[in-house]
Symmetry: C2
Subunit: 157 residues, 2 copies
């Protein structure tokens, strides 16, 4: 049997850093996330807490396991972030009716109110990213992202 990893067709030097999509995406998201963190740390929000609130504003009562996928956060890290959000009355945990191992998370009214404060920062950071890019190009870009997400998705979520 052959354990060798196949040699890629091209080298990174040939492609060039600025044509290598993962490099560009890490650069862009690095700054997006850093800028958001700087904006929102004064509200006492870390990246996991901010993401949890954002997802919960849209998806009602997911399992913690699902929320971990949506927020791209390790379950243990998310567990601790939820502790803090719960202590501040921003979310509420509730044991799942059908499976008592599992816990669902719900955003509270104060949580929703805080998200309303966060959202302009998120929307603005996104608008800055897309500045000068025509609507049609943006739509095509998001369409490609959706295909990519489907490709890399391990679970059904």
């Amino acid at each position: 049997m052959n354990d060798e990893i196949p040699t890629p067709a091209q080298r990174l030097g040939e492609i060039g850093l600025t044509n290598f999509a993962p490099y560009l995406m890490n650069r862009i998201m690095g700054r997006y996330n850093a800028s958001l963190r700087a904006d929102l740390s004064e509200m006492g929000l870390t990246t996991p807490k901010m993401r949890a609130l954002a997802v919960l504003s849209v998806i009602d009562g997911p399992l913690i396991r699902e929320l971990a996928v949506y927020t791209v956060t390790d379950p243990s890290t998310l567990s601790r972030a939820l502790d803090q959000l719960q202590a501040d009355g921003l979310v509420r945990r509730e044991t799942d009716a059908a499976d008592s191992r599992a816990t669902r998370v719900f955003i509270t009214d104060p949580g929703r109110a805080l998200f309303e404060e966060m959202w302009p920062h998120m929307a603005m950071a996104q608008a800055r990213m897309f500045r000068g890019i025509p609507e049609e190009e943006r739509r095509a870009f998001v369409g490609t992202l959706q295909k990519m997400l489907a490709n890399i998705r391990k679970h059904e979520i």
Copy 2:
């Protein structure tokens, strides 16, 4: 004066998570980075070390400050990652000729050899991301990313 943040035109719920580009990009890069870390941790590589080697394989002798931007790594974290790479003989630090505050970093032959081992994993993870996406669509996607990077770039790098 008006300190209010302008209300965004749309709410996140209206856009939908899966149409919000930063959400999709974080999901995709989260998995790309996690998968790469899992592959490369057995080589003793962390994300900052891996990124430093990858960038240094293409850009020769950048300042540490520049490398921090390219690798999307905090300078203090990068400094410690370079300590480790240097201890393993994979990179070499050299004081800049014109500015003795500044340090340039060079990849060594063993470092380049290690990068050659890493690269197939990176190339494969990228190929997986783009599976089933036609060449022209990929090119358009990368073109949009380049515009976005120009938008969010703070410095001239």
